[in-house]
């Protein structure tokens, strides 16, 4: 455990230059935006140039970009993400309040797409070229090709409005003062539909990689040898072919974490889940530059941590890779 922690620390340290690029790049990008936080605020409030100038001064937006960047960077070095003008709260609090919801959503959606995807991939890859294989391939692709927001809306219409089985949005029953297991179950019920919508989209990727991997393994000599030894088909499929094909899937898991975070922007909007994907959209709309930087930074850290965990799992599955070895 300690070794893993020190490895993680090393990984984060070597990522420092990358972080720097991310921060400077995002800052420059947002700097080019038409309209600043004051313009965004005045949309709802109204007010003249005098008020705008006063607000710009109060929010520190009348200083040069360089000065604002220095303030942001200095605070960041001290572990402070700064102040959100859109929420009138510290950015750290705003993000930490929403991060768990996104983690839950992403974690569950990843589990669903990985679990179901690899399972169906095994079914499809057990007999490459069969009807079952082709149907699964095309069906999963078709789901992948449905825009996430539309899939979400259809799920809502069917399961929340017509059948009334599940709540249509939010992370939990509002202001219900539930606690403990009761609250956990409540949250789980609320997450079923968004997790399904997000998970089903990525399912196709796992299914296809699993299937393709298995198709490769089938061609290998050792499988022929196993067959020659008369091992039952099911045993070959599961214990040998699928197991070997699982490795690329684990790598994909790490790669997909960033993509899924992006996908959560839309899903969180459709299902009114207060997560950081939706927060990012709100931050862009409010031109809250420090908040958006904070979100980008935390999602970058999240992606690095996920990839690190994936590496550990990979090492555990594949004896050829030692955990001490740093893979880029």
């Amino acid at each position: 455990m300690n070794r893993a922690l020190s490895l993680l620390r090393r990984r984060l340290l070597t990522s420092l230059p990358v972080f720097l690029i991310v921060i400077v790049g995002s800052f420059l990008l947002l700097e080019a935006a038409p309209g600043d936080a004051v313009d965004a605020y005045l949309v709802s409030v109204g007010g003249d140039a005098g008020l705008a100038a006063q607000l710009r001064h109060e929010w520190g937006l009348d200083r040069s970009a360089w000065a604002r960047f220095l303030t942001f960077a200095t605070a960041l070095v001290h572990g402070d993400l700064g102040w959100s003008v859109a929420f009138a709260r510290p950015i750290r609090d705003v993000i930490l309040e929403r991060l768990p919801n996104t983690l839950l959503l992403m974690g569950a959606a990843t589990a669903l797409s990985f679990g179901l995807g690899s399972l169906l991939g095994i079914v499809a890859g057990a007999r490459p070229g069969s009807i079952c294989d082709r149907v699964l391939s095309v069906a999963s692709l078709a789901i992948y090709a449905v825009p996430g927001f539309w899939l979400g809306l259809v799920l809502i219409v069917v399961f929340s409005i017509e059948l009334r089985w599940l709540p249509l949005g939010g992370i939990e029953t509002i202001a219900s003062s539930r606690s403990g297991l009761d609250r956990g179950l409540d949250i789980a019920r609320h997450l079923v539909l968004p997790v399904a919508a997000l998970g089903f989209i990525y399912l196709a990727l796992y299914l296809r990689v699993m299937r393709a991997g298995m198709a490769e393994v089938w061609r290998m000599d050792f499988v022929l040898a196993l067959r020659a030894r008369g091992l039952p088909q099911s045993r070959i499929v599961i214990a040998h072919v699928a197991r070997n094909a699982l490795l690329p899937l684990v790598t994909l898991l790490g790669l997909q974490s960033a993509s899924m975070l992006g996908g959560s922007v839309v899903i969180e909007s459709v299902f009114a889940v207060p997560g950081i994907g939706r927060l990012a959209h709100e931050a862009v709309a409010a031109r809250d530059v420090p908040l958006l930087l904070g979100i980008i930074l935390s999602s970058a850290i999240l992606v690095i941590v996920v990839n690190f965990l994936v590496d550990i799992v990979y090492a555990a599955l594949d004896p050829r890779v030692g955990a001490s070895e740093e893979r880029a």
Binding site: A40, S44, V45, A49, E58, F87, I156, G169, I174, P274
Partner: protein
């Protein structure tokens, strides 16, 4: 039904009903109101500043009007006292005397007095409020001879009519003891307001909901009926309809349910569509024009554009009939100021083409006369759809418009600060008096950056003179006459083109009672709203 009600009333005793009648008249045939329950309503945005004394906008009022009260509220036939019980203007237009309600306490228990009104008027409405800065600009002092009298003193004669019309939207009173000596714009009470209203502000969970709870010590007898109001944040515009059908929310105001869905949802059992209750919240669909463009500075071109717009199509197809065609800058449903006696521009493509030819902008080889940059305001589905329509309508007469699709912040900056547009689509609100938020749309000399104002570089000395004269005219008939002139001048010279006027719709569960019983219902205090079991 009636018999059942009478027997229920007999059983429960008439005390609560009688008390409610004293404060808020309920039609005699109304069902017996039931106390208790939680009303969940849809909210599509989360205003950062919830102080209605600073931010006089419907988005803020929707939540805060239940917490912070104005001096008076609009009714279908005039005004009804809230924190003031009587108001009287002097003949010289230099003072207005308000008699304030007695026995009112703030949510934190402190008594409400004339000092609160004086403070709110001088320090907040006049100095900080988006609309108050115009209407109360000449307010010099507020005398408080006793705790329940406030006398507003103006430096220049100010029409009492204007002050009266401004009462519902501009006079939310905030507690002096929490604001005095602080940075008012940054006061924590702006995000968790404390007022005198029927509901207290309980909490805001960002991204999820606002919660208001019953003010047990409210001055209105027997009200409010509801225990709680929850504003549930639904960021996707398509979500409210489903949430009502699934009974997860009971009410969606401000047309949160798309107009195209109303016909279907009105047939769902237990769901009702209400199209009243917005009479004093009329939104106007307006084409803003940048007069710095030489083509658009030509009156013939503006008249051609007016004639190229099929208002009938806009009303029938974009608003599905939930709007009326506009004739000028004052909406038809305003009984005080509206006049139909203005130049009209009927939809006529031949005439529009002829006007453009006459102006010297003949069609080029590709059939196009000139190109324009069109910026539809992103705030409503209807303003965007009208933008799509306008592009097509202009194409019919050879004007090649390109739509620039900005989000709210970029639109704000492009139109009102940088003037980087040729034509824009805006949804200004008419607030009961042209001097509150309407004349500013065409008046010259407004500094850059003021949203919903004349930023098109238009200047017309005649119109400016009428606006100026009306601002100091005390005689109500004469003032109305001046605004008739104003409407005529605007419709003649077309500094902007008024296309349509619309009120919103409310979709609710049948269990929600006393909805739309005043012309500003969505932004009124909801003290008498109740839920049938």
């Amino acid at each position: 039904m009636t018999i059942l009600n009478i027997s229920r009333r007999g059983l429960l005793g008439g005390a609560a009903a009688a008390g409610a009648l004293a404060a808020l008249p309920i039609p005699a045939f109304a069902q017996q109101a039931r106390r208790g329950g939680r009303l969940v309503v849809a909210a599509d945005s989360e205003p950062r500043n919830l102080n209605p004394a600073i931010v006089a906008s419907n988005g803020v009022f929707f939540v805060s009007s239940k917490v912070v009260e104005p001096l008076a509220e609009a009714t279908f036939d005039g005004l009804e006292g809230r924190l003031a019980t009587a108001w009287e203007g002097s003949a010289d237009g230099l003072s207005v005397t308000f008699t304030l309600r007695e026995g009112v306490n703030w949510h934190d228990g402190r008594p409400f007095t004339s000092a609160d009104v004086a403070f709110s008027a001088l320090e907040v409405w006049k100095k900080l409020q988006n609309l108050g800065r115009v209407v109360f600009k000449d307010l010099e002092a507020v005398d408080t001879p006793d705790d329940h009298t406030a006398i507003f003193r103006f430096a220049r004669p100010t029409p009492f009519q204007l002050i009266r019309n401004a009462l519902p939207a501009l006079t939310a009173v905030v507690p002096r003891h929490l604001y005095e000596g602080t940075d008012i714009a940054a006061n924590p009470a702006n995000t968790a307001p404390i007022g005198t209203g029927p509901f207290r502000f309980a909490e805001h969970k960002a991204g999820e909901y606002y919660r208001l709870t019953r003010n047990e010590a409210y001055w209105g007898k027997g009200v409010p009926y509801l225990d709680e109001i929850i504003y549930r944040v639904l960021p996707d515009r398509a979500a409210a309809a489903g949430a009502i059908e699934a009974d997860e929310i009971q009410l969606a105001a401000f047309s949160a349910v798309p107009l195209a869905d109303l016909d279907r949802i009105s047939k769902v059992p237990g769901v009702e569509v209400v199209t009243t209750g917005y009479e004093a919240l009329t939104y106007q669909l307006v084409v803003e024009i940048n007069h710095r463009r030489k083509e658009l500075a030509d009156l013939n071109v503006r008249r051609a554009i007016a004639r190229a717009i099929d208002k009938d199509f806009v009303v029938k197809t974009i608003f599905l009939g939930y709007a009326v065609a506009a004739t000028g800058p004052v909406p038809k449903n305003d009984a005080q100021f509206y006049t139909a006696d203005v130049p009209q521009y009927a939809f006529d493509l031949a005439k529009a083409n002829a006007l453009l030819d006459e102006a010297g902008y003949a069609r080029g080889a590709n059939g196009k006369r000139f190109a324009l940059k069109l910026l539809p305001a992103p705030y409503f589905n209807e303003t965007r759809q009208f933008g799509d329509y306008l592009r097509q309508a202009l194409a019919e007469v050879g004007i090649d418009a390109t739509i620039v699709n900005n989000d709210a912040a970029a639109h704000q900056k492009a139109v009102y600060t940088d003037h980087d547009f040729d034509i824009a689509v805006a949804p200004p609100v008419f607030r009961g008096d042209p001097a509150i938020s309407t004349t500013i749309l065409v008046q010259s000399g407004i500094p850059d950056g003021v949203p919903f104002s004349n930023q098109g570089g238009y200047a017309n000395a005649e119109i400016d003179a009428v606006i100026e004269k009306a601002a100091g005219t005390l005689d109500e008939t004469a003032r109305i006459g001046l605004y008739h002139d104003f409407q005529k001048l605007v419709a003649t010279d077309l500094p902007l083109i008024n296309v349509a006027e619309w009120g919103f719709t409310t979709v609710k569960r049948s269990s929600v009672k006393n909805v739309a019983n005043n012309p500003r219902w969505a932004v009124s205090n909801w003290a008498d709203v109740w839920l049938d079991a």
